[in-house]
Amino acid sequence: MSADSAAAPLTLPNQGSGRRNMLERVVAAATFLLIVAFAATIDGFATTGNLGIILINSASLTVLSCGMAVVIISRGLDLSLIAQMVAGATIFGMLISGGVAAPLALLAAYLSMVAIGALNAWLIAYVEIPSMLATLASSMFIVGLFRFAVLRGEYLLLLPKSDPTVAFFAGRLLPFLPVPVALMLGTLMATWFLLNRTVAGRIIYAMGDNFQAARLSGLSVRVTAIVVYVFAAFTAITAGLIMASASGAVDFRTVTNGTLLFEVILVVVLGGIPLRGGRGGLRNIIVGVALIAVLRNGMTLMNVTTQTQDMLKGLILLAAIITDNYLNPRDAETDTAGDL
């Protein structure tokens, strides 16, 4: 019965039992319709210039979503992602303002975020605190610490825009390739590689699919948790550098007002990665980001206020989930508890 598979290497379908594929398709179709509608009604939407803007503007969101997606596939949640992002950027900003050489500042920023990622993983995998609580705690701690000890109660840290490293992150790698877009592509590729080609990637899916089974079969769930949360920390600091260099400031209100974190979770869930984990992959991230990026761009061009945009995003999330449930009613036997 298995002759068909004699020589082929293991292909790894993690799209689950079909349920989530539908959401991905619904969202992809909605994105397509949205693009058509915007192109028809908004002047200057369907131009290469605007495409470039969409890409640059969604770079940090995409990078963060990669980190969050990996965490969620392993059946975790990282609520400290945005706090790590601003904290990492703050370290970098303080150091270069203080005259430290750029490579050293970058190294310090990355290393301290790796430490925070590892700390999250230690709390979750060794102390066995639920990921939501552990990362919530570390998020609050990070923000408090940085605002108190580093910013002395301020919300904002201005970066020297003239600094060559800051200018580099805001500039172009090649004439047609802005640095943020290059970093976004690099992160997407790294995510694909991690999930599909490495041992850790296989274990990430196994943990999300059935954590007890993964643990009991002897998979190294603890080491893998470290990989997961350190990877998330990497995406956080990368996104932080992109965002801070583009705006010339690190703003702690991105953490405290919470919308960015929700947006990242929205991207992952809309793309079709269920919160119960074990399912989904790179395609889902791209689909989710595409919808949000196009929506954001189109609405900004139409001068829709951010409040209205937020409302719309909430409605879209509900609509997508309801459509998905309608297309794929749960069945009593195969439904797993804890499904979204």
Binding site: L10, Q212, L216, E333, A337
Partner: protein, 498 residues
């Protein structure tokens, strides 16, 4: 009495991706009848039942209820017509209490917590089930979960109850109790279909038996017209030589050094003071009632659950070990085959190959960064052949395999780790006669090749056939030990109960 069947399935075909799980099967169920459905793993038994229960719809053919053609879109349509199904894999909501689970879907009728609990208590009492209605479903043993599901069907006033392998997780007494209950439901006019791999159950308790093979209905007839041998012949299409697996001529305990030694293990309320030794080259059977702490001690040995503070000591090859994670036990060559494959056995979204490959990876991929995909695939193909695992497509998720094939995947996943000590926890649950013979051969050959084997089983004939030495567990301790020569079913049962 009318002889109008309650259920008629006519030329029903169900295909998945072009391959027929059920191929033109015809089946009928008379009112007040107990109808057994037997067949090999993957023969299409569960598929046939799910068609009747409205879980899936036939690709061809149709279903009649009381003679009238129906097309169920969802299980709730079937339950409106009085058809309830108790699934092979339990479908209770673990976070809800027993009472809430029982009235699930009918909450409107019983809206307060107290009413819900009282209604549930009444049914449980009427059925003579000893289950506390306010307990969480997730904390129940397999046997009790089963009871709750039957109670749910009774509350739904089912006229037809379908039981998919109801006895797989039950002890002999619980099994007797279940069949008593089925007979009393039968007297009140309920028709029942049950699936079982224990052919004696079909022969002793059913009015009629139907045999499926490769999705086809091979034979239907009164139970008295079959024998065990004739059933097997219909099931597999040829005679099966059932014999106890070969073991070395003399008891060759080559060394006196045990591979595993546990002393005074204590863990919560389940395990108190277990001590025993396991020798290489031997199968050590651990008999006992459900809840006697056997699986729990296995999980302590693996490092999956924590023993109590100062809760005993464990030696592997004479070296004291204390695992805090099963990964360490696996690295040392211990493997555990879980008793509840859906709960902590397999990865449901993944295919056969990846499930087996992950087991291998846990032991041999610890130092690598890149997943050795060709290795994993080749290895999985090898195990698929050795255990004759039947699947439809190369990447068909394990969730969609038949129960018996899922079990084989879980076994292969552990054996791919080439362990020195294997703990089999109820290894033949839900596995067909042919595969039981294969799995027993495998267990025996692992021991014959020098590994230590612990066999936890509630099925005494299995323990007696395979073990070189038998331990009897009783409320968290080892109550007795028998050599193979002294062990009899009566003695083991006596030790397990008294």
């Amino acid at each position: 009495m009318s002889t109008q069947p309650v259920i008629q399935l006519e030329n029903a075909t169900k295909t998945y991706g072009g391959i027929a799980a059920l191929a033109g099967a015809t089946f009928d169920l008379l009112p007040g009848e107990i109808h057994a459905l037997v067949g090999e793993n993957g023969a299409g038994k569960s598929t046939l039942c799910k068609l009747i229960a409205g879980v899936i719809t036939p690709s061809e053919g149709h279903l009649r209820v009381d003679g009238e053609v129906v097309a169920f879109a969802a299980p709730k349509d079937a339950s409106r017509r009085g058809i309830s199904m108790v699934y092979q894999e339990t479908s209770l909501v673990p976070q809800l209490t027993v009472a809430q689970n029982i009235v699930l879907g009918r909450e409107a009728a019983f809206n307060s917590v107290r009413k819900v609990r009282n209604a549930a208590r009444q049914v449980l009492q009427r059925l003579n089930f000893k289950v506390d209605p306010s307990q969480l479903a997730g904390s129940l043993s397999a046997a009790k979960r089963q009871m709750v599901e039957i109670a749910r069907a009774v509350v739904n006033e089912a006229r037809v109850i379908i039981l998919d392998e109801p006895t797989a997780a039950l002890t002999p007494e619980e099994t007797d109790h279940l069949f008593d209950l089925m007979r009393s439901l039968k007297r009140s006019g309920v028709a029942m279909i049950f699936i079982s791999h224990a052919l004696e159950e079909a022969l002793n308790h059913a009015d009629r038996i139907s045999v499926l093979r490769n999705g086809r209905m091979i034979q239907t007839g009164p139970a008295s017209s079959f024998t065990r041998a004739s059933l097997i012949r219909h099931m597999i299409g040829e005679d099966l030589a059932e014999q106890a697996p070969a073991r070395p001529a003399a008891n060759t305990r080559s060394t006196a050094v045990p591979v595993l030694q546990v002393e005074n293990i204590r863990m919560g309320a389940m395990v108190n003071n277990m001590s025993f030794s396991i020798f290489p080259g031997e199968v050590t059977g651990i008999a006992g009632l459900i809840g006697s702490g056997r699986s729990e001690v296995a999980k302590v040995i693996m490092g999956h659950t924590k023993r109590n503070f100062s809760g005993g000591r464990i030696w592997l090859d004479g070296r004291e070990v204390r695992y805090t994670l099963p990964a360490q036990a696996v690295a040392d060559g211990i493997a555990y085959v879980s008793e509840d494959r859906k709960l902590d056995g397999f990865f449901e979204t993944m295919g056969v190959a990846e499930n087996i490959g992950l087991g291998w990876l846990a032991k041999f991929g610890r130092r690598s960064i890149l997943a050795p995909r060709h290795r994993m695939r080749a290895l999985a193909d090898d195990w698929e052949k050795r255990l004759s695992i039947r699947r439809i497509g190369a990447n068909q998720p394990v969730l969609h395999l038949s129960g018996g094939n899922q079990q084989k995947v879980v076994i292969a996943k552990s054996l791919s780790q080439e362990p020195r000590l294997v703990i089999f926890d109820e290894p033949t649950r839900g596995v067909d006669v042919g595969a039981i013979a294969e799995i027993r051969q495998i267990i025996r050959s692992i021991a014959n090749n020098g590994a230590g084997v612990i066999l936890i089983s509630s099925y005494l004939p299995e323990i007696l056939d395979l073990s070189d030495r038998i331990l009897v567990a009783k409320s968290g301790t080892i109550a007795a030990e028998f050599s193979r020569a002294d062990a009899t079913a009566e003695r083991i049962l006596h030790a397990a109960v008294h």
